[in-house]
């Protein structure tokens, strides 16, 4: 019988939640990775390896890997460096496995690759030459934290094609494996002055429909947006949502018109509005939205969910999952129609990914 595993990255290590195909009863194991802060943990379906991107205040950034579904772990940062140019690598975050390699986004801006299952790394691109790149490592131009590449979206069938998010700048696409990039932000809104209309957008999360690689959705700092041409142009689809702000997003595996988001209060709180926990779903590509909250707390629930905090599996009736910045994990075995709290007391959660393994 297949196992459903949730890989949960937290501020105090990686945890694994396990269930069977019914996804009703869950067990928790961990913490793994020696309690290092984990920003994103993923499962590579081709190799069966689990990877967890980490950054320790004491010991720097690295990627943990486990070849036995979390029983044992090794850490490597060999090659994860902006050697020689004085730029510090402070964090590695968004991981993705595709086409026989592992990709990692880093702060300062960098896309790294590993072709030996996370043992060694090399710098693929710093997106040098893109509009604004001359200042994005300038300390005076930094937002709170550090500018970087939080996520990389690979094309599923074209190995040299991918999209990278640069924080506060927007989406960039390469079709030649990082040798050149093109901004893909046309149609996005910015509620602040732009020096160059091609860049300066705050993209939080980018997802692609598995059924149609031209269909993309993004949760932005100021609105939800859809693209029907693989990011060449965007239309806003925020109407019907309680706020324009949020981080997490997920695309339905069997319906190209369906897409999930978790709107948050855009102020300092960045929690679900009015203390009412909910995931919102569109089934018509953003023309309308429906609140999914059965089984979620309806009051006094000031929950935050970060960029990688929601995941969906690809079973016949997809399961949807999200983890909060206060350590709860909620699961739905019926594509969001009803929910259960399956972990309550984990450390602050950065990421949730799902894997179905035999």
């Amino acid at each position: 019988m297949s196992r459903t595993m949730l890989l949960v990255g937290t501020r105090k290590g990686c945890f694994i939640l396990e269930s069977d195909g019914d996804r009703r009863d869950w067990s928790v194991r961990g913490p793994y990775c020696e309690g290092w802060p984990i920003y994103h943990a993923i499962h590579d379906v081709d190799t069966g390896t689990i990877y967890a991107a980490a950054a320790s205040e004491w010991h720097g950034a690295g990627v943990w890997r486990s070849n036995d579904l979390g029983e044992s772990w090794e850490l490597s940062s060999e090659g994860l460096t902006h050697d020689g140019d004085g730029v510090k690598l402070s964090k590695v975050s968004g991981l993705t496995a595709a086409h026989g390699r592992l990709l990692a986004g880093a702060e300062a801006v960098g896309v790294f690759e590993s072709r030996d299952q996370g043992v060694t790394w090399s710098l693929l691109s710093t997106l040098e030459g893109q509009p604004g790149s001359d200042t994005w490592n300038d300390p005076a131009a930094q937002p709170p934290g550090h500018l970087g590449v939080p996520a990389i979206l690979p094309h599923p069938s074209e190995p040299s094609r991918m999209w990278a998010i640069v924080q506060g700048r927007g989406i960039f696409e390469t079709t030649d494996d990082g040798r050149s990039w093109t901004p893909r932000n046309r149609g996005l809104r910015a509620d602040w002055p732009l020096e160059d209309p091609e860049v300066g957008y705050c993209v939080h999360k980018l997802v692609m429909s598995p059924l149609d690689n031209d269909r993309m959705y993004q949760q932005n700092h100021v609105g939800m947006h859809r693209s029907d041409d693989a990011g060449h142009s965007w239309v806003e689809i925020t109407d019907g949502l309680p706020t324009e702000f949020g981080f997490a997003a997920a695309a339905h595996p069997h319906d190209r018109e369906s897409f999930y988001v978790i709107p948050l209060d855009p102020g300092h709180g960045r929690c679900m509005p009015d203390g009412h926990a909910a995931v919102w779903r569109t089934e018509d590509a953003g023309s309308s939205w429906r609140r999914l909250d059965a089984g979620l707390p309806h009051q006094d629930a000031y929950l935050g969910v970060l960029r990688e905090g929601m995941a969906i599996d690809a079973l016949d009736v997809p399961g949807l999952y999200f983890g909060t910045s206060t350590g709860q994990v909620f699961a739905s075995a019926d594509e969001g129609e009803s929910w259960n709290e399956i972990a309550s007391y984990l450390p602050a959660i950065s990421s949730v990914e799902v894997a179905v393994v035999d």
Partner: protein, 87 residues
């Protein structure tokens, strides 16, 4: 030989690394080289490009704050300390 003392976070990453060991080195930097030879990857846990010690890693030689260039004598006590930070 210098008398090297390491923080408890390191043996949890590097199997068989003791908290205390003798190393034959003329500077702190060389002491870290000796560790790297036996436990590959360890230098990156203590240093960043420059090279310099990581911001939250402190090294003391005979109780005095040290840098990578600090010289070691026969029998010098070297304490590598992870900063008291976090929560």
């Amino acid at each position: 030989m210098a008398d090297l003392h390491l923080p408890p976070t390191l043996p949890r990453i590097f199997p068989d690394l003791p908290r205390r060991l003798d190393v034959d080195a003329a500077t702190v930097d060389e002491a870290i080289d000796r560790l790297e030879e036996r436990w590959p990857g360890l230098r990156d846990r203590l240093c960043e490009p420059g090279p310099v010690l990581r911001r939250h890693i402190n090294v003391f030689v005979e109780g005095e704050r040290a840098s990578l260039d600090t010289a070691l004598e026969q029998g010098s006590r070297v304490d590598v300390v992870a900063a008291i930070s976090g929560g």
